[in-house]
C-alpha cells in the first residue's frame, strides 16, 4: 500500500490552506472521497439515473441494476448476503431502525437491553429511549480502567431477560477495539442478540459479520470514502424477516388495501420511498475501492500512524494521551495539552493546516469516565502518511509553546 499515491486520488487533499500542506486527521468524523467514488456518482447521474424498481423502460432497469450492484458490493465488504443489507442514511439511522423495529418488538417490562457508557450517543439514545417507552431496563457494562468494554464485564450484566446488547466495535473516542466475537457468544448463550455499531470499524479493518457473530451491524458510507447521506444496516436474515417496517411508503409493500397492507421481504421492507440511489452507487464504489486497497493493509497502516502519533505526543511535555498504552489497534489518538481547552488546541492546530476534532465527540458519559470535559482527537486513514504525523506533532509542540507564552 502506497499512501502517497493514494493521497493523489483524493482531490480535496490537494488544497493548501494558508499555503500549507493540508493535514487532514479527522477521518473518524468523515473521510475524504477518492476520484473513483466521485466519478461513480457523476456517471450514475449522467448515464443511468431513473427511479429504481418502478420503471418498465430500459433506463430504469439500469438504475435498479446499479443500485443492486452497490448493495452486493457493500454486502461483499462485510461478508453478508445482499438481501441482508438495508440501505440507510447512515449509522445513526441504522441503529435507530434496529431499536425502533426489533427493540420495540422484543422489549417489555421484565426484559433488559445492555449497552455501555462508552457508546456514541447514536448507539445509546435509541436504546435509552426505546427502553423508556417499553418499560424495559437499560443496563450498562462497566468499563475497565482504559475505557474498554471487556467480555467479562458484559457477562457480568447479562441474564436470561437480556434481549439486546448494543456495543461499538471500535470506540470513536479512544480507538479501543471491542472483542465482538467473544461477546457475541456470551450474548447468544443467553438468548439475546448483538447489535454492533460499526461506524469506526468497517472503514478501517476487515469485518466479517458471520465470523464476528453480529446479529446487526450498522455503518456509514461517508466514513469509508463514500458519500454523505448513505449507510447500511446488516441484519441476520431471520431477524430482518421478523421485523416490522419503520417507514411506510412506496416500494416497501406487497399489497395495500384501504384497511391494511402486507410488506415486501427485507431489505426493501425497510426502504420505503425513493432511496438515495446515487449515494448507494457511491458507497458501492467505495466498498470496492477499500477492498482493492486491502482492509488488512488499511488497518495496519492506520494503527502504525496512530501508534507513532501517540508515542510522539507522549514525548511532548505537558501533553496527556488517553486510552491504552503501547501499540494502538486502531487509527484514533485522543489527547489534551494540559491547561489548554481542546477547542483552543484545535484552533491553534488549524493555523498549521492540521484538522482535528475537539469536544466531547458525542460521548458525554465516556468523557465523564475519563474525567475530561473535552479532548482533541486525531484520526488517520489510508491517505495519511508519516508526514501527517510529523505535521501534527510539530503543530502540537507549537501550540503548547504558544499557550505557555501567552499565558505568561
Amino acid at each position: 500500500m502506497n499512501p502517497t499515491a493514494l493521497r493523489a486520488e483524493f482531490p480535496l487533499l490537494r488544497r493548501r490552506p494558508g499555503g500549507q500542506r493540508l493535514c487532514y486527521v479527522d477521518s473518524a468524523a468523515t473521510s475524504q472521497k477518492p476520484l473513483c467514488v466521485l466519478d461513480a456518482v457523476r456517471r450514475y447521474y449522467e448515464e443511468d439515473n431513473a427511479n429504481v424498481y418502478r420503471g418498465v423502460y430500459a433506463l430504469a432497469a439500469r438504475a435498479t441494476e446499479e443500485f443492486e450492484n452497490a448493495r452486493a458490493a457493500v454486502a461483499g465488504l462485510i461478508g453478508a448476503e445482499p438481501d441482508e443489507v438495508v440501505f440507510t442514511r447512515g449509522t445513526t439511522e441504522g441503529l435507530n431502525l434496529v431499536a425502533a423495529s426489533y427493540g420495540e418488538r422484543v422489549l417489555r417490562p421484565g426484559t433488559n437491553v445492555v449497552t455501555s457508557p462508552a457508546e456514541h450517543h447514536s448507539n445509546l439514545l435509541p436504546w435509552q429511549q426505546v427502553a423508556l417507552r417499553r418499560g424495559a431496563e437499560l443496563r450498562y457494562v462497566e468499563l475497565d480502567a482504559d475505557g474498554r468494554v471487556t467480555p467479562d464485564a458484559v457477562a457480568a450484566v447479562l441474564d436470561e431477560d437480556t434481549r439486546v446488547v448494543a456495543l461499538a466495535h471500535v470506540s470513536n473516542v479512544l480507538g479501543t477495539v471491542t472483542d465482538v466475537d467473544r461477546i457475541a457468544e456470551l450474548v447468544h448463550a443467553r438468548g439475546g442478540v448483538l447489535a454492533v455499531d460499526g461506524a469506526q470499524s468497517v472503514p478501517h479493518r476487515p469485518v466479517d459479520v458471520k465470523a464476528l457473530g453480529a446479529d446487526f451491524l450498522a455503518f456509514s458510507g461517508h466514513k469509508m470514502c463514500g458519500p454523505t447521506g448513505i449507510g447500511a444496516l446488516y441484519g441476520r436474515r431471520e431477524l430482518l424477516r421478523q421485523m416490522p417496517p419503520v417507514y411506510y411508503g412506496g416500494e416497501m409493500i406487497e399489497e395495500v388495501t384501504l384497511t391494511g397492507a402486507t410488506w415486501k421481504e427485507p431489505p426493501l421492507r425497510f426502504e420505503g420511498g425513493t432511496p438515495n440511489i446515487a449515494g448507494a452507487v457511491g458507497m458501492g464504489a467505495a466498498a470496492r475501492f477499500l477492498q482493492d486497497v486491502g482492509l488488512e493493509e488499511i488497518r495496519r497502516h492506520g494503527s502504525e500512524l496512530a501508534s507513532a502519533a501517540a508515542d510522539g505526543l507522549r514525548g511532548i511535555e505537558g501533553v496527556t494521551v488517553y486510552g491504552p498504552k503501547g501499540h494502538r489497534d486502531s487509527a484514533v489518538v485522543t489527547f489534551n495539552i494540559d491547561g489548554v481547552h481542546a477547542h483552543d488546541v484545535a484552533t491553534a492546530l488549524d493555523t498549521h493546516g492540521v484538522c482535528v476534532r475537539a469536544g466531547h465527540h458525542c460521548c458525554q458519559p465516556l468523557m465523564r469516565h475519563l474525567g475530561a470535559v473535552s479532548t482533541a482527537r486525531a484520526s488517520f486513514y489510508l491517505y495519511n502518511d508519516v508526514e501527517d504525523v510529523r505535521q501534527l506533532l510539530a503543530a502540537v509542540r507549537d501550540a503548547r509553546e504558544f499557550f505557555r507564552r501567552v499565558a505568561g
Binding site: 494558508g18 489548554v340 481547552h341 481542546a342 477547542h343 483552543d344 484552533t347 491553534a348 488549524d350 493555523t351 475537539a358 469536544g359 466531547h360 458525554q364 468523557m367 470535559v373 473535552s374 504558544f402 499557550f403 501567552v406 499565558a407 505568561g408
Partner: protein
C-alpha cells in the same frame, strides 16, 4: 489567520484570572447556558435593582479560553451600568465579530477578542455570555410585563 490576534495577553489574563467568578448570594436571576457542540457550560448570576441598574454580576462554568475570557470581560464591563447600556454593549460586540461597523467605545477589554471573527467556528464561544445575559434580561422583562 494568526493565533496572536485571538489569544492576546489580555484575553489569557481574563481566562487565567477571571473577574467575578463564582456565584452571587442573592441574585435577581440566574441563567445557565450550555453549548452542546463543545460542552462549554456557563452560569451567570445577575443582581438588578429597581432602577434597572446591574448592581452585581458573576459567572461560573467551564469552557475554552475564549468563552471564559469573554464572560469575565463582559460582566466586568456591565457592572454598574443599566440593562439598556449592557444590551448595547452585547450588540456592539456581536457586530464586531460579524465584521460589521461596531461602536468600539463601548467595548473595553472585549475589543481584544476581535480576532475571533477570523475563526467562525469560535464566534459562538465568544458570544456565549452575551446570549446568557440577553436570555436573562428577556426573562426579567417578561416577568415585569406580567406585573404591569
Amino acid at each position: 489567520m494568526s493565533l496572536d490576534d485571538v489569544y492576546r495577553q489580555v484575553v489569557m489574563d481574563h481566562y487565567q484570572n477571571p473577574r467575578h467568578h463564582g456565584h452571587l448570594e442573592h441574585p435577581t436571576l440566574s441563567v445557565g447556558l450550555h453549548n452542546p457542540s463543545c460542552g462549554d457550560q456557563l452560569e451567570v448570576d445577575l443582581l438588578v435593582d429597581a432602577d434597572g441598574i446591574l448592581r452585581d454580576a458573576s459567572f461560573d462554568g467551564q469552557g475554552c479560553s475564549i468563552s471564559m475570557a469573554s464572560a469575565s470581560m463582559f460582566l466586568d464591563l456591565i457592572r454598574g451600568k443599566s440593562v439598556e447600556e449592557a444590551r448595547r454593549i452585547a450588540e456592539a460586540f456581536k457586530d464586531l465579530l460579524r465584521k460589521e461597523s461596531a461602536d468600539r467605545s463601548l467595548l473595553g477589554d472585549l475589543e481584544a477578542l476581535e480576532g475571533v471573527s477570523q475563526f467562525p467556528a469560535r464566534v459562538k464561544c465568544a458570544t456565549l455570555v452575551m446570549n446568557a445575559f440577553e436570555q436573562a434580561m428577556d426573562r426579567l422583562e417578561s416577568k415585569g410585563g406580567d406585573k404591569g
